[in-house]
Amino acid sequence: MADLRLGIDVGGTNTDAVVLDGEGRVIAKAKRPTTPDVTGGLRAALDAVLTELEGKDEQDVRGRIGRVMLGTTHATNAILERRGLGRVAVLRLGAPATTSVPPLSDWPADLRAAVSAGEAIVPGGHYVDGRELAPLDLDAVRRLLDGVEAGAVAVTGVFSPASDEHERRVEELVRAEYGLPVSVSREIGSLGLLERENATVLNAALYGVAAHVTDALVTALAERGLGARPYLAQNDGTLMTLEHAARLPVSTIGSGPANSLRGAAYLSGVDDAIVVDVGGTSTDLGVLTGGFPRESAAAVEIGGVLTNFRMPDILAIALGGGTVARANGLGPDSVGYRIAQEALVFGGSTPTLTDAATAAGRLPRDAGGWPENLRKALSGTETQNVLESALARADEMIADAVDRMALGRADRPLVVVGGGAFVLPARIPGASRVIRPEHAEVANAVGAAIALASGRVDTILPAGETRTDAIERAKEEARARAVAAGADPTGVEVVDLLEVPLSYLSEPAVRVHVKAAGPLAR
């Protein structure tokens, strides 16, 4: 009986692992430091959670784990540290248009040097209405590829999200004649040529990193006698198969916040909520709608490169347990990891938000000795007033941030997680109630374990009579992509449909975004 699910989240600091039973309850959890090679931490967390589970007299634990879901920062780190990136031949199909801004124009020089094997803008691509911009010049494609040493190819055609014929033909040519992996832009981003191209090139540069992660995961599972099917978590809070992840590694970027949001809400038993993750230095807020993270409308920068990748809409504010309190204000600096030496409650001499919360009786479960230490530190000083005004300011900042994310709605609950969660008050304006779920410290791994598989389509369709059919086709395509990502064909549903009318065009047209998602296939 494969009734158990194992979720793993590799974060910047810790690698967490959880096991959920058939009812979706957390029955084991473990937290280990993330190691520089990442796989060491992954193995340690896996061993720890399996050991805990086996210590509970559960029968045949390893045989019962049917699926393993991994959320990881491998890809993000590789880009940020310019490490392990592959060399990419960058092809844009768009000449004679688009030549005023060549590929990678806005990339930081070191990242461009690490990634680009050569770039060319060749004749091809389409107009907004589907006509060819120029006949596709396959010889120009060959000329670039014959002259470069590349491990992969990135292909971006003008208007390919609406008309992908030229991208497909180049993809076939590269596979057939050069045997190189190809990253095609229509699978990666939406309209907005430069941002989509950037994401497509990053994707191609990450093939090696993706292979390393999937190998490490598969090996770690095999070594531990786990026959489970592995999946990787992606930026919208859904899963993909390893085969899919191998083609779209850039999709794993942003899976951390997405998993955190979904995990926190799941542990609280709600589908619509504002999630607040209070750390030592900063607080992240996100919104969950219908079980999925609300996506950011703005372009997202990764490692200094602007992409139009869809990422969770996260608001980060400089407020955490270690934020320094002063007579003239609060923060934005924090004592960070030195909190255990510097905060008043730990016998230090720097007043922090943790001290301010403690003075007001807001305490974590394991706050042994804090009020005592604080009383000693405060005797005969003016610090009491500083702490009071700091806490009032913190409450204002949180209420303000919640209001920004709530978009005027005050009927949703607020789910509070993270090591600094205790500093928040019991009531927060703009939220119906405040929930502090159990197991919140491993919310990311839980989010990975409960994720669905999804597919999406973003294109331009004619408005008017043919619109309805065209939208049906877009929905069908989104469902097919969800199935390709691992979803059970019988359980896939369209979860998001967005239509935006376009201005200044010859024929009325709408931009359509469709997303389908469903539980994983057995």
Binding site: A97, T98, V101, Y127, V128, L133, A297, G408, L502, S503
Partner: protein
């Protein structure tokens, strides 16, 4: 002076402020400008007085659908084909490039076009801000005949139009633009330096640069920007409602800002049509087109485009006087409140805010 790569970010910020919410995203134009300067060299910025009387000035602008210009970016040869056509028609090459519209993307991109052509950029433009329609330019207001439009598209086509008036100019240019894939480069009102005097708005490139630089490293960016613009601060607050609808090819809408801090209890609504056109508080107009109304981020003083307005943003609304040319009867007829369908008699912003 010469415009170099390091000037582009400040120029882009200034153009965004002068875009009054519209005029298109400045980012692609900035990248094109930086690339062209690196490739072809710095761009001399010249004053009208520096040019001989018979020097030809070519006002350029990109026209089309924003969604398209974000995807099908300009080709590098488009300006050269317009310059060749100008030379064919006038018998001599152009002497300088001018931005038709300093507000938004058309304020920055001309730096790229000038660099590609190896020509100087005239420190002037045709609007002093951004406007949605082709005939809303100073040359039209000054009474210059709208008898020549040259368009160049990504495919290499060049179309020369000899319209009978400004309305035909707009109508025909739009039709060509659509056929060209909803994106083209356009020269409108090619003129000599002698005729440009009084028909263009001078000093606007320098002005945009200074606006962009005013907030650079400022301790109080909002205060610095307000002072630089000589603007009235209509309200500082929170965006509480944005309603948009697409009608007649334009995005129209209303945005509501509720005051915070010293402005608590006040409520300003902004009427939008690509640009911010009218600001109303308690049924009283506080500023109206053609005066400039820009929404900026209260903290950074960066301009916020109408399409990026979102609930919850902390913004400040600034309004300041337009160029005197727009306040003439012909100027108001062309781009006053009634030209946008608002039944309002124009009152200058300085009278509305101090009256």
């Amino acid at each position: 002076m010469n415009i170099d790569v390091n000037d582009i970010p400040a120029l882009a910020r200034g153009c965004a402020v002068l875009g009054t919410g519209g005029g298109g995203d400045v980012r692609t134009g900035s990248l094109a400008a930086m690339r062209a300067i690196r490739e072809y060299g710095e761009v001399p910025l010249v004053k009208l007085a520096d040019l001989p009387d018979d020097a030809l000035v070519v006002p350029l602008s990109g026209i089309g659908a924003p969604t398209v210009s974000h995807e099908m970016i300009h080709g590098e040869d488009e300006p050269a084909r317009i310059a060749e056509e100008v030379e064919r028609i006038f018998g001599r090459p152009p002497a300088a490039i001018m931005s038709s519209e300093i507000g938004g993307s058309n304020g920055v991109a001309p730096v790229a076009w000038a660099a590609q052509l190896g020509l100087p950029l005239l420190d002037a433009d045709g609007m002093g801000r951004a406007f949605p329609e082709v005939q809303m330019v100073s040359m039209y207001v000054a009474g210059l005949p709208a008898d020549l439009v040259i368009m160049s598209d990504v495919a290499g086509n060049v179309v020369t139009i000899r319209p009978v008036d400004g309305l035909w100019s707009e109508r025909l240019a739009r039709a060509v633009c659509v056929a060209a894939g909803s994106h083209a480069l356009m020269a409108d009102y090619v003129l000599t330096a002698a005729r440009a005097g009084g028909a263009v708005i001078e000093g606007t490139v320098t002005g945009a640069l200074e606006i962009g630089r005013s907030t650079e490293g400022a301790a109080d960016p909002l205060g610095a920007l307000r002072e630089r613009l000589g603007a009235s601060q209509l309200i500082t607050g929170k965006l509480t409602d944005v309603e948009r609808r697409t009608t007649g090819g334009f995005v129209r809408g209303t945005a509501v800002i509720e005051g915070t801090g010293d402005d608590r209890g006040r409520r300003l609504s902004l009427e939008l049509q690509n640009e911010n056109l009218v600001a109303v508080e308690d049924g009283r107009v506080r500023a109206m087109v053609p005066d400039l109304i820009t929404v900026v981020d209260t903290e950074t003083a960066a301009a916020v485009q109408t399409e990026s307005l979102r609930y919850g943003q902390r913004v400040t609304v600034l309004a300041w006087p337009c160029d005197p040319l727009w306040r003439t009867p012909k100027g108001l007829e062309t781009a006053g409140p009634r030209a946008f369908g608002y039944d309002l008699d124009y009152v200058p912003v300085e009278e509305l805010t101090h009256g």
